[in-house]
Amino acid sequence: MSEFLMFLTNGLVMGGINAISALGVSLVVGIMRVINFAHGEMYIFGGYLSYQLAVGAGIPPVLSMLCSVAAVFLGGLAIEKWLIRPTYGDEMYSLIITFILSIILQNAALLIFGPYPVKPPSLVFGATNIFGLFHYGNQRLLSLALAAGIIGAIMYLVRRTWFGKSVRAISQDREMAAMLGVDHLKVNMISFGLGCALAASAGAIIAPIFPVTPSGSGAVSLTAFVVVVLGGMGSLKGCIVGGVILGVLENLGAAYISTDYRHIFGFIILIGVLVLRPWGLFGKRI
């Protein structure tokens, strides 16, 4: 029983990470109708930069995480401005360009960082006894708390601030929003940067627990996409619920069925959603 609860908690931790990574995809899809196929690379860069800054440059771990997320955010702004903006209105070209970008970044990461997994230093050590049932690593608990904090911050940003109002206005009706004076170029750019930064923060938070490698980026992107389809394209609430469902199912599946086939559960869910409820759990029915 306590073993099952531990796998469940592992799933919850991964679920939180899945949720922030998927929020990054969903935010961009909702506003720009663009899927960033280089999403997984942003996650990997988040983990690697945080490792390089902490271990290579000797910066305190917390600061190195923040710096790596900020660097990826700036990178995302540049990508939006130079590569995505010229493709507005042509969905196909944005897919092709971000796919090419993912291949470039993946190979560049292999070249710069090498193929070996890296593990940035943990922020906290030791373990906590959970309700007298099992011991659970503090770093994992902290990851869950950080993920929850980021989810809360994004929800606040979208629901309560001026930026969020513009985001929702553009998602609902781009032309009308533009007519009412919403600067959609600026909002697009910031959202895309934020999408990349969310992926990077997921990578930076999880890397001390599960090391990152350049070749792992495909699976990361795919997980985020499955969560977005499961939750409903463009729905933020869907990302959180979908992320936790996928995290728990993958962990229980890996524990009780097969570790090699961990990522297959996501694909089965994707196909299941497309068959039964193609608009997802919280998406708008088409």
Partner: protein, 301 residues
């Protein structure tokens, strides 16, 4: 004039094996494989505007189906290749049927997922596929000859291109382009856009299965590299660099990139990075590729 040009190209293609040594003949055969791959990918991406990331995966379906039938069932490669083509088509129909009505983004996501899953299955089912070690399978001919393979690939590629040309010039081809240019206008003029896209996706997937089956039996060693995303990227880069949406673009792109990659072979792992950068610059600044650039220069004169 155009006819004379085509006849010239045809003549050169026939004479190629008599001038190239074994090594470059191999490169020529591989280029023909990529011509089939890039052209059939162009059929969906360039002509109906849907990006499939499972094209290499369908080639893998063709290669592994035919290879395993030959190895474990003693099925003749000719029949095996047909079986692989059909299976790739059926899988394409299934995947496409699930997600095409939801729009282009869903097709791209699902095909990406399919391609990852296929790679995971092939890598893990070692007792059948020998995983990343690769599976040794019999060839098409009882006596190995690169010249024979070259003519086989040439014949299939030509048949392939003629068929594609006919399809594109028919009413169906017109419907493809109508769907690409303006989905709403196409559907109001009575075109079932979902059906048209599904048809394009299915036939293009089957073509990838055929190309993959041939490729496997030529290499006689099939590995999870065939259905990998790296391979997918090469096919995409060939179509993008050559010129998507034009008939000649992917053909030129495939031959140019395959020969070029032989010259830059010494740089090994860098070649994906290099092709990536070139493809990115072309996609960003010259979306109609080399063919489009050429036409622009031609018109300016």
């Amino acid at each position: 004039m155009k006819r004379a040009g085509l006849a010239g190209v045809f003549l050169i293609a026939i004479l190629v094996p008599f001038f190239l040594n074994q090594y470059w003949l191999h490169v020529a055969i591989i280029s023909l494989f990529y011509v089939m791959m890039a052209s059939s990918w162009n059929l969906i991406a360039g002509y109906t505007g849907q990006v499939s990331f499972a094209h290499a995966a369908f080639a893998g379906v063709g290669a592994y189906t035919s290879g395993m039938l030959a190895l474990y069932g003693g099925v003749h490669p000719a029949l095996g290749i047909i079986a692989g083509t059909l299976l790739a088509g059926v899988l394409g129909l299934g995947l496409g049927g699930l997600c095409i009505r939801m729009g282009g983004i869903y097709l791209s996501l699902t095909t990406l997922g399919f391609s990852e899953i296929l790679r995971i299955i092939i890598t893990n089912e070692e007792q059948w596929t020998r995983g990343t070690m690769g599976l040794q399978i019999p060839g098409v001919f009882s006596v190995y000859s690169k010249t024979h393979y070259y003519f086989l690939f040439l014949a299939v590629t030509l048949a392939f291109l003629v068929l594609m040309r006919r399809l594109l010039n028919s009413d169906t081809g017109l419907a493809f382009r109508a769907v690409l240019n303006d989905e709403l206008a196409a559907s109001t003029s009575g075109i079932d856009t979902v059906r048209v896209r599904l048809m394009a996706f299915t036939s293009s997937s089957a073509m990838a299965g055929l190309a993959g089956g041939l490729y496997g039996h030529y290499l006689m060693l099939i590995t999870p590299d065939i259905p990998s995303l790296g391979q997918m990227f090469l096919v995409l880069a060939m179509a993008v660099i050559g010129g998507m949406g034009s008939f000649a673009g992917p053909i030129i792109g495939a031959i140019a990139l395959e020969f070029l990659s032989e010259y830059i072979r010494i740089y090994g792992e860098y070649h994906l990075l290099l092709f990536g950068l070139v493809a990115l610059v072309i996609a960003r600044f010259a979306p109609s590729g080399m063919v489009g650039l050429w036409e622009k220069i031609w018109r300016r004169r």
